[in-house]
Assembly symmetry: C2
Homo-oligomer: 276 residues x 2
Protein backbone atom coordinates (compact mmCIF):
# COMPACT_ATOMS: atom_id res chain seq x y z
CA UNK A 1 0.00 0.00 0.00
CA UNK A 2 1.72 3.09 -1.23
CA UNK A 3 -0.85 5.82 -1.22
CA UNK A 4 -3.46 6.08 1.48
CA UNK A 5 -3.09 9.85 1.84
CA UNK A 6 -6.66 10.53 0.73
CA UNK A 7 -8.22 7.34 2.09
CA UNK A 8 -10.78 7.53 4.85
CA UNK A 9 -12.56 4.56 6.34
CA UNK A 10 -16.19 5.09 7.15
CA UNK A 11 -16.87 3.60 10.55
CA UNK A 12 -19.89 1.66 9.26
CA UNK A 13 -17.66 -0.40 6.95
CA UNK A 14 -16.08 -2.03 9.99
CA UNK A 15 -18.78 -1.52 12.57
CA UNK A 16 -17.67 -4.69 14.33
CA UNK A 17 -14.67 -2.71 15.62
CA UNK A 18 -15.20 -0.67 18.76
CA UNK A 19 -14.00 2.91 18.36
CA UNK A 20 -10.64 2.39 20.17
CA UNK A 21 -10.00 -0.74 18.07
CA UNK A 22 -10.80 1.21 14.91
CA UNK A 23 -8.44 4.00 15.91
CA UNK A 24 -5.70 1.47 16.70
CA UNK A 25 -6.18 -0.33 13.41
CA UNK A 26 -6.05 2.95 11.48
CA UNK A 27 -2.79 3.90 13.18
CA UNK A 28 -1.31 0.48 12.48
CA UNK A 29 -2.28 0.51 8.79
CA UNK A 30 -1.49 4.15 8.15
CA UNK A 31 -5.10 5.12 7.48
CA UNK A 32 -5.26 8.89 7.97
CA UNK A 33 -9.02 9.52 8.04
CA UNK A 34 -12.27 8.20 9.48
CA UNK A 35 -15.92 8.96 8.80
CA UNK A 36 -17.81 8.54 12.06
CA UNK A 37 -21.41 7.66 12.87
CA UNK A 38 -23.43 9.33 15.56
CA UNK A 39 -24.74 6.27 17.40
CA UNK A 40 -21.38 4.59 18.20
CA UNK A 41 -19.85 7.99 18.94
CA UNK A 42 -22.66 8.83 21.36
CA UNK A 43 -22.29 5.43 22.99
CA UNK A 44 -18.58 6.08 23.54
CA UNK A 45 -19.14 9.69 24.52
CA UNK A 46 -18.73 12.53 22.02
CA UNK A 47 -15.98 14.37 23.94
CA UNK A 48 -14.11 11.14 24.62
CA UNK A 49 -14.37 10.09 20.98
CA UNK A 50 -13.11 13.49 19.87
CA UNK A 51 -10.09 13.17 22.18
CA UNK A 52 -9.41 9.60 21.05
CA UNK A 53 -9.26 10.43 17.35
CA UNK A 54 -7.45 13.72 17.93
CA UNK A 55 -4.76 12.09 20.05
CA UNK A 56 -4.29 9.46 17.34
CA UNK A 57 -3.80 12.17 14.72
CA UNK A 58 -6.79 10.97 12.73
CA UNK A 59 -8.82 13.34 10.58
CA UNK A 60 -12.58 13.00 10.97
CA UNK A 61 -13.68 13.43 7.37
CA UNK A 62 -17.45 13.34 7.98
CA UNK A 63 -20.07 12.67 10.59
CA UNK A 64 -22.96 10.47 9.45
CA UNK A 65 -25.66 11.43 9.67
CA UNK A 66 -28.27 14.07 10.07
CA UNK A 67 -31.38 14.48 8.00
CA UNK A 68 -34.78 12.74 8.11
CA UNK A 69 -36.42 16.07 7.51
CA UNK A 70 -39.58 15.05 5.65
CA UNK A 71 -42.12 14.75 8.49
CA UNK A 72 -45.38 16.67 8.12
CA UNK A 73 -46.37 16.56 11.79
CA UNK A 74 -45.24 19.72 13.60
CA UNK A 75 -43.97 17.88 16.67
CA UNK A 76 -41.98 15.43 14.56
CA UNK A 77 -40.52 18.28 12.53
CA UNK A 78 -39.43 20.14 15.64
CA UNK A 79 -37.84 16.98 17.03
CA UNK A 80 -35.99 16.37 13.75
CA UNK A 81 -34.66 19.92 13.68
CA UNK A 82 -33.51 19.66 17.29
CA UNK A 83 -31.80 16.35 16.56
CA UNK A 84 -30.03 17.86 13.55
CA UNK A 85 -28.77 20.76 15.66
CA UNK A 86 -27.32 18.18 18.06
CA UNK A 87 -25.71 16.43 15.08
CA UNK A 88 -24.09 19.75 14.09
CA UNK A 89 -22.84 20.20 17.64
CA UNK A 90 -21.38 16.69 17.62
CA UNK A 91 -19.68 17.30 14.28
CA UNK A 92 -18.11 20.47 15.64
CA UNK A 93 -16.94 18.68 18.77
CA UNK A 94 -15.40 15.89 16.69
CA UNK A 95 -13.56 18.47 14.59
CA UNK A 96 -15.14 17.57 11.26
CA UNK A 97 -16.50 20.22 8.94
CA UNK A 98 -18.99 17.92 7.17
CA UNK A 99 -22.30 16.48 8.32
CA UNK A 100 -23.85 14.02 5.86
CA UNK A 101 -27.63 14.29 5.49
CA UNK A 102 -29.94 11.43 4.54
CA UNK A 103 -33.06 13.38 3.81
CA UNK A 104 -35.80 10.97 4.83
CA UNK A 105 -38.55 9.09 3.01
CA UNK A 106 -42.25 9.65 2.45
CA UNK A 107 -44.36 10.01 5.60
CA UNK A 108 -46.71 7.04 6.10
CA UNK A 109 -49.51 7.11 3.54
CA UNK A 110 -48.08 10.02 1.55
CA UNK A 111 -47.39 9.82 -2.18
CA UNK A 112 -46.13 13.40 -2.45
CA UNK A 113 -42.42 13.35 -3.34
CA UNK A 114 -42.41 17.00 -4.36
CA UNK A 115 -43.88 18.11 -1.05
CA UNK A 116 -41.37 16.02 0.88
CA UNK A 117 -38.49 17.57 -1.06
CA UNK A 118 -39.82 21.05 -0.28
CA UNK A 119 -39.94 20.26 3.44
CA UNK A 120 -36.25 19.34 3.29
CA UNK A 121 -35.49 22.75 1.81
CA UNK A 122 -37.60 24.41 4.52
CA UNK A 123 -35.63 22.60 7.21
CA UNK A 124 -32.29 23.52 5.67
CA UNK A 125 -33.25 27.18 5.82
CA UNK A 126 -33.13 26.75 9.58
CA UNK A 127 -30.24 24.31 9.82
CA UNK A 128 -27.87 25.92 7.30
CA UNK A 129 -27.19 29.09 9.33
CA UNK A 130 -26.90 27.04 12.53
CA UNK A 131 -24.33 24.76 10.89
CA UNK A 132 -22.39 27.75 9.56
CA UNK A 133 -22.12 29.22 13.04
CA UNK A 134 -20.50 25.97 14.13
CA UNK A 135 -18.14 25.66 11.18
CA UNK A 136 -20.02 22.68 9.75
CA UNK A 137 -21.20 22.14 6.16
CA UNK A 138 -24.30 20.07 5.41
CA UNK A 139 -23.90 17.49 2.64
CA UNK A 140 -27.18 16.29 1.14
CA UNK A 141 -26.68 12.70 0.03
CA UNK A 142 -28.80 11.51 -2.87
CA UNK A 143 -29.59 7.87 -2.16
CA UNK A 144 -30.22 5.30 -4.86
CA UNK A 145 -33.81 5.51 -6.17
CA UNK A 146 -34.59 2.16 -4.56
CA UNK A 147 -34.63 4.08 -1.24
CA UNK A 148 -36.94 6.86 -2.46
CA UNK A 149 -40.03 5.87 -0.49
CA UNK A 150 -38.63 4.72 2.82
CA UNK A 151 -35.31 6.47 3.37
CA UNK A 152 -34.50 9.35 1.06
CA UNK A 153 -36.74 11.21 -1.38
CA UNK A 154 -33.62 12.83 -2.87
CA UNK A 155 -32.55 10.28 -5.49
CA UNK A 156 -30.17 12.09 -7.84
CA UNK A 157 -27.39 14.64 -7.67
CA UNK A 158 -29.55 16.96 -9.77
CA UNK A 159 -32.32 16.84 -7.15
CA UNK A 160 -29.80 17.35 -4.34
CA UNK A 161 -28.26 20.35 -6.08
CA UNK A 162 -31.66 21.85 -6.86
CA UNK A 163 -32.17 22.00 -3.10
CA UNK A 164 -28.59 22.88 -2.13
CA UNK A 165 -28.42 25.81 -4.55
CA UNK A 166 -30.98 27.71 -2.54
CA UNK A 167 -28.30 28.14 0.14
CA UNK A 168 -24.69 29.31 0.30
CA UNK A 169 -22.24 26.54 -0.63
CA UNK A 170 -20.48 26.76 2.74
CA UNK A 171 -23.82 25.91 4.36
CA UNK A 172 -25.24 23.24 2.04
CA UNK A 173 -23.61 20.99 -0.55
CA UNK A 174 -23.81 17.36 -1.58
CA UNK A 175 -22.35 13.94 -0.94
CA UNK A 176 -21.14 12.14 -4.06
CA UNK A 177 -21.35 8.39 -3.38
CA UNK A 178 -20.68 6.02 -6.28
CA UNK A 179 -23.10 3.41 -4.96
CA UNK A 180 -26.07 5.70 -5.35
CA UNK A 181 -25.29 7.39 -8.67
CA UNK A 182 -23.24 4.98 -10.78
CA UNK A 183 -26.19 4.12 -13.08
CA UNK A 184 -26.98 7.78 -13.82
CA UNK A 185 -25.59 9.07 -17.12
CA UNK A 186 -26.38 12.64 -16.07
CA UNK A 187 -24.33 12.38 -12.86
CA UNK A 188 -20.99 13.45 -14.42
CA UNK A 189 -22.55 16.74 -15.54
CA UNK A 190 -24.06 17.19 -12.10
CA UNK A 191 -20.68 16.55 -10.47
CA UNK A 192 -19.25 19.32 -12.63
CA UNK A 193 -22.14 21.58 -11.58
CA UNK A 194 -21.53 20.76 -7.91
CA UNK A 195 -17.79 21.32 -8.25
CA UNK A 196 -18.17 24.67 -9.99
CA UNK A 197 -20.20 25.85 -7.02
CA UNK A 198 -17.88 24.38 -4.39
CA UNK A 199 -20.58 22.00 -3.23
CA UNK A 200 -18.83 18.60 -3.30
CA UNK A 201 -18.52 18.29 0.46
CA UNK A 202 -17.55 14.62 0.50
CA UNK A 203 -16.83 11.80 -1.93
CA UNK A 204 -17.65 8.23 -0.93
CA UNK A 205 -17.06 4.88 -2.60
CA UNK A 206 -18.95 1.60 -2.56
CA UNK A 207 -19.36 -0.95 -5.32
CA UNK A 208 -22.62 -2.24 -6.82
CA UNK A 209 -23.14 -5.99 -6.54
CA UNK A 210 -26.12 -8.27 -7.06
CA UNK A 211 -28.29 -10.00 -6.02
CA UNK A 212 -29.48 -7.37 -3.60
CA UNK A 213 -30.43 -8.70 -0.17
CA UNK A 214 -33.91 -8.39 1.32
CA UNK A 215 -34.47 -4.77 2.30
CA UNK A 216 -31.57 -3.79 -0.01
CA UNK A 217 -29.74 -1.81 2.68
CA UNK A 218 -26.79 -4.04 3.41
CA UNK A 219 -25.72 -5.23 -0.02
CA UNK A 220 -22.96 -2.75 -0.87
CA UNK A 221 -19.97 -4.36 -2.49
CA UNK A 222 -16.31 -4.18 -1.54
CA UNK A 223 -14.40 -1.88 -3.89
CA UNK A 224 -13.54 -3.82 -7.04
CA UNK A 225 -16.16 -6.53 -6.59
CA UNK A 226 -18.89 -4.95 -8.67
CA UNK A 227 -20.04 -2.86 -11.61
CA UNK A 228 -18.62 0.53 -10.66
CA UNK A 229 -15.54 1.97 -12.35
CA UNK A 230 -14.06 3.78 -9.34
CA UNK A 231 -11.30 5.57 -11.27
CA UNK A 232 -13.85 7.02 -13.69
CA UNK A 233 -15.85 8.60 -10.85
CA UNK A 234 -12.68 9.77 -9.14
CA UNK A 235 -11.73 11.51 -12.38
CA UNK A 236 -15.11 13.25 -12.49
CA UNK A 237 -14.83 14.67 -8.97
CA UNK A 238 -11.20 15.65 -9.49
CA UNK A 239 -12.03 17.36 -12.77
CA UNK A 240 -14.69 19.24 -10.78
CA UNK A 241 -11.99 20.45 -8.39
CA UNK A 242 -12.45 18.05 -5.49
CA UNK A 243 -9.18 17.33 -3.70
CA UNK A 244 -10.47 16.09 -0.36
CA UNK A 245 -10.66 12.73 1.34
CA UNK A 246 -12.21 9.68 -0.30
CA UNK A 247 -14.30 7.66 2.12
CA UNK A 248 -15.14 4.02 1.66
CA UNK A 249 -18.55 3.30 3.16
CA UNK A 250 -19.83 -0.26 2.86
CA UNK A 251 -22.95 -1.74 4.44
CA UNK A 252 -22.46 -5.45 3.99
CA UNK A 253 -23.46 -8.32 6.24
CA UNK A 254 -20.70 -10.57 4.90
CA UNK A 255 -18.02 -7.97 5.65
CA UNK A 256 -19.46 -7.36 9.11
CA UNK A 257 -19.23 -11.09 9.87
CA UNK A 258 -15.46 -11.06 9.32
CA UNK A 259 -12.57 -9.83 11.46
CA UNK A 260 -12.76 -6.04 11.40
CA UNK A 261 -9.00 -5.42 11.12
CA UNK A 262 -8.78 -7.82 8.22
CA UNK A 263 -11.68 -6.03 6.47
CA UNK A 264 -10.01 -2.66 7.07
CA UNK A 265 -6.71 -3.92 5.61
CA UNK A 266 -8.53 -5.39 2.61
CA UNK A 267 -10.49 -2.19 2.07
CA UNK A 268 -7.33 -0.08 2.16
CA UNK A 269 -5.68 -2.42 -0.35
CA UNK A 270 -8.71 -2.30 -2.64
CA UNK A 271 -8.73 1.49 -2.39
CA UNK A 272 -5.13 1.65 -3.58
CA UNK A 273 -5.78 -0.88 -6.34
CA UNK A 274 -8.98 0.64 -7.72
CA UNK A 275 -8.98 4.28 -6.67
CA UNK A 276 -5.42 5.12 -5.66
CA UNK B 1 -66.57 -1.74 -11.81
CA UNK B 2 -67.77 0.82 -14.26
CA UNK B 3 -64.88 1.50 -16.56
CA UNK B 4 -62.52 -1.22 -17.67
CA UNK B 5 -62.45 -0.06 -21.29
CA UNK B 6 -58.74 0.79 -21.18
CA UNK B 7 -57.71 -1.89 -18.68
CA UNK B 8 -55.38 -4.65 -19.74
CA UNK B 9 -54.12 -7.40 -17.46
CA UNK B 10 -50.54 -8.38 -17.97
CA UNK B 11 -50.32 -12.16 -17.90
CA UNK B 12 -47.48 -12.10 -15.36
CA UNK B 13 -49.75 -10.50 -12.75
CA UNK B 14 -51.78 -13.72 -12.60
CA UNK B 15 -49.24 -16.21 -13.87
CA UNK B 16 -50.89 -18.91 -11.75
CA UNK B 17 -53.71 -18.95 -14.34
CA UNK B 18 -53.18 -21.09 -17.42
CA UNK B 19 -53.90 -19.20 -20.62
CA UNK B 20 -57.44 -20.63 -21.16
CA UNK B 21 -58.28 -19.84 -17.51
CA UNK B 22 -56.98 -16.30 -17.95
CA UNK B 23 -59.06 -15.84 -21.10
CA UNK B 24 -62.16 -17.21 -19.34
CA UNK B 25 -61.65 -14.96 -16.34
CA UNK B 26 -61.20 -11.91 -18.57
CA UNK B 27 -64.45 -12.68 -20.38
CA UNK B 28 -66.27 -13.18 -17.09
CA UNK B 29 -65.00 -9.92 -15.58
CA UNK B 30 -65.28 -7.81 -18.74
CA UNK B 31 -61.53 -7.29 -19.04
CA UNK B 32 -60.92 -6.30 -22.66
CA UNK B 33 -57.13 -6.59 -22.97
CA UNK B 34 -54.22 -8.81 -22.06
CA UNK B 35 -50.46 -8.36 -22.20
CA UNK B 36 -48.92 -11.73 -22.95
CA UNK B 37 -45.52 -13.28 -22.17
CA UNK B 38 -43.54 -15.33 -24.59
CA UNK B 39 -42.79 -18.36 -22.42
CA UNK B 40 -46.38 -19.33 -21.50
CA UNK B 41 -47.53 -18.49 -25.02
CA UNK B 42 -44.84 -20.71 -26.52
CA UNK B 43 -45.75 -23.50 -24.08
CA UNK B 44 -49.39 -23.27 -25.20
CA UNK B 45 -48.48 -22.85 -28.85
CA UNK B 46 -48.31 -19.42 -30.48
CA UNK B 47 -50.96 -20.10 -33.17
CA UNK B 48 -53.26 -21.76 -30.64
CA UNK B 49 -52.84 -18.87 -28.21
CA UNK B 50 -53.59 -16.39 -31.00
CA UNK B 51 -56.80 -18.25 -31.86
CA UNK B 52 -57.81 -18.50 -28.20
CA UNK B 53 -57.57 -14.77 -27.50
CA UNK B 54 -58.98 -13.81 -30.90
CA UNK B 55 -62.02 -16.04 -30.45
CA UNK B 56 -62.60 -14.52 -27.02
CA UNK B 57 -62.52 -11.01 -28.48
CA UNK B 58 -59.54 -10.03 -26.34
CA UNK B 59 -57.07 -7.39 -27.48
CA UNK B 60 -53.43 -8.37 -27.02
CA UNK B 61 -52.00 -5.03 -25.88
CA UNK B 62 -48.33 -6.10 -25.74
CA UNK B 63 -46.04 -9.07 -25.95
CA UNK B 64 -43.37 -9.23 -23.24
CA UNK B 65 -40.58 -9.38 -23.98
CA UNK B 66 -37.71 -9.09 -26.34
CA UNK B 67 -34.40 -7.45 -25.64
CA UNK B 68 -31.28 -8.63 -23.80
CA UNK B 69 -29.19 -6.99 -26.47
CA UNK B 70 -26.03 -6.09 -24.56
CA UNK B 71 -23.80 -9.11 -25.19
CA UNK B 72 -20.32 -8.44 -26.55
CA UNK B 73 -19.64 -11.96 -27.82
CA UNK B 74 -20.53 -12.24 -31.51
CA UNK B 75 -22.26 -15.60 -31.16
CA UNK B 76 -24.35 -14.39 -28.25
CA UNK B 77 -25.26 -11.25 -30.15
CA UNK B 78 -26.38 -13.21 -33.21
CA UNK B 79 -28.46 -15.52 -31.01
CA UNK B 80 -30.08 -12.53 -29.29
CA UNK B 81 -30.96 -10.92 -32.62
CA UNK B 82 -32.43 -14.17 -33.91
CA UNK B 83 -34.47 -14.57 -30.74
CA UNK B 84 -35.78 -11.03 -31.05
CA UNK B 85 -36.83 -11.68 -34.65
CA UNK B 86 -38.79 -14.68 -33.37
CA UNK B 87 -40.37 -12.44 -30.74
CA UNK B 88 -41.46 -10.04 -33.48
CA UNK B 89 -42.94 -12.97 -35.42
CA UNK B 90 -44.81 -14.11 -32.33
CA UNK B 91 -46.15 -10.61 -31.69
CA UNK B 92 -47.43 -10.44 -35.28
CA UNK B 93 -49.05 -13.86 -34.96
CA UNK B 94 -50.75 -12.82 -31.70
CA UNK B 95 -52.07 -9.69 -33.38
CA UNK B 96 -50.36 -7.18 -31.10
CA UNK B 97 -48.48 -4.19 -32.47
CA UNK B 98 -46.17 -3.79 -29.48
CA UNK B 99 -43.16 -5.80 -28.35
CA UNK B 100 -41.74 -4.70 -25.00
CA UNK B 101 -37.93 -4.74 -24.78
CA UNK B 102 -35.93 -5.27 -21.60
CA UNK B 103 -32.55 -4.22 -22.83
CA UNK B 104 -30.21 -6.44 -20.81
CA UNK B 105 -27.58 -5.84 -18.15
CA UNK B 106 -23.81 -5.58 -18.13
CA UNK B 107 -21.94 -8.57 -19.54
CA UNK B 108 -20.02 -10.47 -16.84
CA UNK B 109 -17.04 -8.47 -15.65
CA UNK B 110 -17.94 -5.35 -17.63
CA UNK B 111 -18.32 -1.92 -16.01
CA UNK B 112 -19.10 -0.14 -19.29
CA UNK B 113 -22.69 1.12 -19.18
CA UNK B 114 -22.16 3.47 -22.12
CA UNK B 115 -20.85 0.68 -24.34
CA UNK B 116 -23.75 -1.57 -23.40
CA UNK B 117 -26.24 1.16 -24.28
CA UNK B 118 -24.57 1.62 -27.66
CA UNK B 119 -24.85 -2.09 -28.41
CA UNK B 120 -28.60 -1.85 -27.80
CA UNK B 121 -28.82 0.91 -30.41
CA UNK B 122 -26.74 -1.19 -32.82
CA UNK B 123 -29.14 -4.10 -32.40
CA UNK B 124 -32.19 -1.90 -32.91
CA UNK B 125 -30.80 -0.74 -36.24
CA UNK B 126 -31.29 -4.35 -37.36
CA UNK B 127 -34.47 -5.14 -35.45
CA UNK B 128 -36.39 -1.91 -36.13
CA UNK B 129 -36.86 -2.46 -39.88
CA UNK B 130 -37.64 -6.14 -39.30
CA UNK B 131 -40.33 -5.21 -36.78
CA UNK B 132 -41.77 -2.58 -39.12
CA UNK B 133 -42.13 -5.16 -41.88
CA UNK B 134 -44.23 -7.23 -39.48
CA UNK B 135 -46.37 -4.35 -38.21
CA UNK B 136 -44.77 -4.42 -34.78
CA UNK B 137 -43.38 -1.50 -32.75
CA UNK B 138 -40.51 -2.00 -30.31
CA UNK B 139 -40.99 -0.42 -26.88
CA UNK B 140 -37.77 0.08 -24.91
CA UNK B 141 -38.62 -0.23 -21.24
CA UNK B 142 -36.44 1.68 -18.83
CA UNK B 143 -36.18 -0.46 -15.72
CA UNK B 144 -35.65 0.93 -12.23
CA UNK B 145 -31.95 1.77 -11.61
CA UNK B 146 -31.74 -1.11 -9.13
CA UNK B 147 -31.73 -3.41 -12.20
CA UNK B 148 -29.01 -1.51 -14.07
CA UNK B 149 -26.24 -4.07 -13.69
CA UNK B 150 -28.03 -7.37 -14.08
CA UNK B 151 -31.14 -6.78 -16.18
CA UNK B 152 -31.39 -3.45 -17.95
CA UNK B 153 -28.74 -0.77 -18.49
CA UNK B 154 -31.49 1.60 -19.63
CA UNK B 155 -32.66 3.13 -16.34
CA UNK B 156 -34.59 6.28 -17.26
CA UNK B 157 -37.03 7.47 -19.88
CA UNK B 158 -34.44 10.01 -21.00
CA UNK B 159 -31.94 7.22 -21.70
CA UNK B 160 -34.60 5.17 -23.49
CA UNK B 161 -35.59 8.12 -25.66
CA UNK B 162 -31.97 8.99 -26.44
CA UNK B 163 -31.78 5.53 -28.03
CA UNK B 164 -35.29 5.43 -29.52
CA UNK B 165 -34.87 8.81 -31.24
CA UNK B 166 -32.27 7.38 -33.58
CA UNK B 167 -35.10 5.42 -35.25
CA UNK B 168 -38.54 6.18 -36.67
CA UNK B 169 -41.24 6.28 -33.99
CA UNK B 170 -43.22 3.50 -35.66
CA UNK B 171 -40.16 1.27 -35.27
CA UNK B 172 -38.89 2.17 -31.78
CA UNK B 173 -40.57 3.88 -28.83
CA UNK B 174 -40.75 3.41 -25.08
CA UNK B 175 -42.68 1.67 -22.34
CA UNK B 176 -43.84 3.98 -19.56
CA UNK B 177 -44.15 1.88 -16.38
CA UNK B 178 -44.88 3.69 -13.12
CA UNK B 179 -42.91 1.17 -11.05
CA UNK B 180 -39.66 2.05 -12.74
CA UNK B 181 -39.93 5.83 -13.03
CA UNK B 182 -42.10 7.08 -10.16
CA UNK B 183 -39.10 8.48 -8.23
CA UNK B 184 -37.79 10.48 -11.22
CA UNK B 185 -38.74 14.17 -11.18
CA UNK B 186 -37.60 14.50 -14.80
CA UNK B 187 -39.93 11.72 -16.01
CA UNK B 188 -42.97 13.98 -16.64
CA UNK B 189 -40.92 16.09 -19.06
CA UNK B 190 -39.65 12.92 -20.73
CA UNK B 191 -43.21 11.60 -21.07
CA UNK B 192 -44.10 14.83 -22.86
CA UNK B 193 -41.05 14.38 -25.09
CA UNK B 194 -42.06 10.80 -25.87
CA UNK B 195 -45.66 11.78 -26.56
CA UNK B 196 -44.72 14.63 -28.88
CA UNK B 197 -42.81 12.10 -30.97
CA UNK B 198 -45.51 9.42 -30.88
CA UNK B 199 -43.23 7.10 -28.94
CA UNK B 200 -45.38 6.08 -25.95
CA UNK B 201 -46.03 2.56 -27.18
CA UNK B 202 -47.46 1.22 -23.93
CA UNK B 203 -48.31 2.45 -20.43
CA UNK B 204 -48.03 0.05 -17.50
CA UNK B 205 -48.90 0.35 -13.82
CA UNK B 206 -47.44 -1.19 -10.70
CA UNK B 207 -47.12 0.29 -7.23
CA UNK B 208 -43.93 0.76 -5.20
CA UNK B 209 -43.92 -1.02 -1.83
CA UNK B 210 -41.21 -1.79 0.71
CA UNK B 211 -39.38 -3.68 2.06
CA UNK B 212 -38.06 -5.03 -1.22
CA UNK B 213 -37.58 -8.80 -1.30
CA UNK B 214 -34.21 -10.48 -1.89
CA UNK B 215 -33.29 -10.05 -5.54
CA UNK B 216 -35.83 -7.18 -5.75
CA UNK B 217 -37.64 -8.65 -8.77
CA UNK B 218 -40.89 -9.82 -7.26
CA UNK B 219 -41.80 -7.00 -4.91
CA UNK B 220 -44.17 -4.94 -7.06
CA UNK B 221 -47.18 -3.70 -5.19
CA UNK B 222 -50.85 -4.03 -6.03
CA UNK B 223 -52.28 -0.75 -7.35
CA UNK B 224 -53.10 1.48 -4.41
CA UNK B 225 -50.89 -0.32 -1.89
CA UNK B 226 -47.81 1.85 -2.28
CA UNK B 227 -46.19 5.21 -2.92
CA UNK B 228 -47.23 5.83 -6.53
CA UNK B 229 -49.97 8.32 -7.41
CA UNK B 230 -51.45 6.46 -10.40
CA UNK B 231 -53.78 9.25 -11.49
CA UNK B 232 -50.89 11.71 -11.64
CA UNK B 233 -48.95 9.47 -14.05
CA UNK B 234 -52.08 8.76 -16.06
CA UNK B 235 -52.54 12.52 -16.43
CA UNK B 236 -48.98 12.86 -17.71
CA UNK B 237 -49.34 10.24 -20.45
CA UNK B 238 -52.77 11.54 -21.41
CA UNK B 239 -51.49 15.11 -21.60
CA UNK B 240 -48.79 13.69 -23.90
CA UNK B 241 -51.50 12.30 -26.19
CA UNK B 242 -51.57 8.66 -25.10
CA UNK B 243 -55.04 7.15 -25.43
CA UNK B 244 -54.17 3.45 -25.51
CA UNK B 245 -54.55 0.58 -23.09
CA UNK B 246 -53.28 0.70 -19.54
CA UNK B 247 -51.68 -2.55 -18.47
CA UNK B 248 -51.25 -3.65 -14.90
CA UNK B 249 -48.10 -5.72 -14.56
CA UNK B 250 -47.25 -6.99 -11.07
CA UNK B 251 -44.49 -9.38 -10.09
CA UNK B 252 -45.39 -10.35 -6.57
CA UNK B 253 -44.96 -13.64 -4.75
CA UNK B 254 -47.84 -12.94 -2.39
CA UNK B 255 -50.24 -12.29 -5.28
CA UNK B 256 -49.02 -15.41 -7.09
CA UNK B 257 -49.78 -17.52 -4.02
CA UNK B 258 -53.45 -16.53 -4.13
CA UNK B 259 -56.34 -17.64 -6.35
CA UNK B 260 -55.69 -16.14 -9.77
CA UNK B 261 -59.29 -15.17 -10.55
CA UNK B 262 -59.56 -13.43 -7.21
CA UNK B 263 -56.34 -11.51 -7.92
CA UNK B 264 -57.61 -10.52 -11.36
CA UNK B 265 -60.91 -9.28 -9.92
CA UNK B 266 -59.05 -7.33 -7.22
CA UNK B 267 -56.66 -5.83 -9.77
CA UNK B 268 -59.54 -4.72 -11.99
CA UNK B 269 -61.25 -3.12 -8.99
CA UNK B 270 -58.05 -1.35 -7.95
CA UNK B 271 -57.58 -0.11 -11.50
CA UNK B 272 -61.03 1.48 -11.47
CA UNK B 273 -60.46 2.93 -8.00
CA UNK B 274 -56.99 4.39 -8.59
CA UNK B 275 -56.63 4.84 -12.34
CA UNK B 276 -60.13 4.68 -13.79
Amino acid sequence: MTDLARFSINQMTVKQLALPELVDACRELGVPGVGLWREPVQAYGVEAAAKLVRDAGLTVTTLCRGGFLTAIDAGERAAALADNRRAVDEAATLGTDTLVLVSGGLPAGSKDLRGARERIADALAELGPYAEEHGVKLAIEPLHPMFASDRCVVSTLAQALDIAERFPAHQVGVTVDTYHIWWDDTAPVQIARAGAQGRIHTFQLADWITPLPEGVLNGRGQIGDGAVDMREWKRYVEAAGYTGAIEVELFNDALWARDGREVLAETAARFVEHAG
